[in-house]
């Protein structure tokens, strides 16, 4: 009997961790299978350094497990708690300022965005839109980065205001689509591809959980809002406005 309860105790503390580890393995299994299939069967080449490969995969699984756990105990609670506190404070200007700071601040230093902005400067220089000097390219890339960060700040402000007011999301998104279509007509051809891609690269792995928790927290603490209908949608704005803003940047420059 005694040994039984001991085993139960041990498994109840170990179980969540083992379960999380197992879930991470399951999440990563498809990509490992795909890469192995193409490497071994289609390209018929061996894996370079199998031992290093296995070590690396262990790191990936461990990293994902820690990240998801940290999400549950850190990022989700603070995002939601701050949403409750802002709702209780009842000051809309402060809430919107916070929304802007969160959108702008998380985007301006985003490594993926820096890479895309540099590529865009390269394209612009090749297309003769700007001088092909390092200085011109750098100022173009910086301007673009700032534009995208501003647009994400604006997106989160708009999204939060929508949650507070309870506007249906589809009208705003469809309006945004129309904006994209209209800008596409006027934007220089070279910038269109980059503009369309910039929507996807702005929302990083840390921003997404935080912003989602903020939206859901706000929608559940304001009476009359449904977290499912009103809480989501902030990311959608953050991936739509950069497309419009980047094309505007291309037109104005």
């Amino acid at each position: 009997m005694l040994s039984n309860t001991f085993v139960d105790d041990a498994s109840s503390t170990l179980n969540p961790l083992i379960k999380a580890f197992y879930e991470s393995i399951r999440d990563l299994l498809p990509i490992v299978v795909v890469i192995a299939f193409f490497q071994l069967l289609v390209l018929q080449q061996p894996f370079p350094g199998l031992l290093k490969m296995l070590g690396g995969l262990l790191l990936v699984v461990l990293g994902l497990t820690l990240f998801v756990h940290g999400l549950r105990i850190g990022l989700f609670p603070i995002g939601e708690n701050m949403a409750y506190d802002f709702a209780r404070k009842g000051s809309l200007p402060w809430l919107l300022l916070f929304a802007f700071a969160l959108g702008f601040g998380t985007t301006v230093a985003e490594p993926a965005l820096i890479a895309v902005a540099n590529e865009a400067a390269e394209v612009a220089a090749n297309g003769g839109m700007i001088a092909a000097t390092d200085q011109a390219k750098e100022s173009y890339a910086d301007g673009l980065r700032l534009t995208v960060a501003l647009s994400v700040g604006f997106a989160i402000v708009l999204g939060v205001y929508r949650i507070v007011r309870g506007w249906p999301i589809q009208y705003l998104i469809i309006g945004g689509y129309l904006g994209v279509v209209v800008m596409t007509i006027f934007a220089p051809r070279e910038i269109i591809g980059i503009a369309y891609d910039s929507g996807g690269v702005t929302t990083s792995t840390i921003t997404v959980p935080l912003v989602t928790a903020l939206g859901v927290g706000l929608a559940s603490s304001i009476s009359g809002r449904n977290p499912m209908i009103d809480g989501f949608g902030l990311i959608a704005f953050a991936s739509l406005t950069p497309m419009i803003f980047v094309m505007a940047y291309g037109i104005l420059l």
Binding site: I35, V60, V68, G70, L102, A109, V181, Y196, P209
Partner: protein
């Protein structure tokens, strides 16, 4: 010792990503809200885990899947491997689009599998399942999103091979999304719109960008500077359709079962 400096570099990158966010959160918490943070220690531990976890995750990917996957994207798009006579079809390569079948299969499977491994999609799926009280199955949602990404990336590859303008595809996609919005259950709409931006992050972007660059560099008449872009836009748009489609299927199935019971 080399891996240690490599790890330090990645950790520093992740820190510089997290620090501005932490500064904004705690700045507003202490200066504007002026409330004690509940479970401060637990939250700080969570931040530490997120930083460490993301650094491990990225370092492991850089050591294993990224280099092999990027090289693979180059090799698979090589006309010699595909058995395409580039010289003969220099002016009308679009007619040879079907010979690129390995590329489509790679695009589909890599799009699906990277979306499943994407940490931000995992995060949103957890949240959606919590908020909906379990009526949204996190796996159902993730598989719907991953299928959307897979379709999007394959179509993106087809577009680069045929050299058709990106905005035709995107604008047609918008029209489909608008039509679906009219018929989709209200509670899924916001989540579906979100799933577009969520699916393209840490794992998907590097591999998919490598595929786009590889294709636009090897298909004759394409310019990597102009045609290499657009894959991410496809990967952002199609999950919106697939998630709404998934919800529509769900309600259709529920209604049919309801009818079967009534009869």
């Amino acid at each position: 010792m080399q891996w240690l400096s490599e790890f330090a570099e990645i950790l520093l990158d992740t820190l510089s990503d997290v620090l501005p966010i932490a500064a904004i959160l705690f700045g507003f918490q202490f200066l504007v809200l002026r409330r004690k943070v509940r479970h401060l220690k637990r939250i700080l531990a969570g931040f530490l885990l997120v930083i460490l976890g993301l650094a491990f995750f990225l370092m492991g990917l850089e050591q294993t899947l990224f280099p092999v996957g990027k090289l693979m994207a180059q090799q698979l798009t090589d006309p010699q491997f595909l058995g395409i006579d580039v010289e003969a079809f220099r002016d009308n390569i679009a007619t040879q689009w079907a010979s690129y079948y390995w590329v489509y299969l790679f695009a589909f499977t890599i799009g699906f599998s990277t979306a499943i491994a994407e940490p931000s999609l995992i995060a949103v799926a957890i949240k959606a399942s919590d908020v909906s009280g379990g009526s949204i199955n996190p796996w159902g949602l993730r598989i719907a999103v991953a299928l959307g990404v897979a379709l999007g990336i394959s179509l993106g590859a087809f577009r680069i091979i045929t050299g058709t303008p990106l905005h035709y595809y995107i604008i047609s996609g918008y029209i489909v999304v608008m039509l679906q919005t009219l018929f989709a259950p209200r509670s899924i709409i916001a989540l579906a719109y979100d799933s577009g931006g969520v699916s393209t992050s840490t794992v998907t972007v590097p591999l998919v960008a490598a595929l786009g660059l590889g294709l636009s560099a090897t298909v004759p008449g394409r310019n990597p500077m102009l045609d290499g872009f657009g894959m991410i836009a496809f990967a952002c748009l199609f999950p919106i359709m697939s998630v709404m489609g998934y919800a529509q299927l769900g309600t259709w199935y529920a209604r049919r079962q309801q009818q079967a019971i009534e009869e």
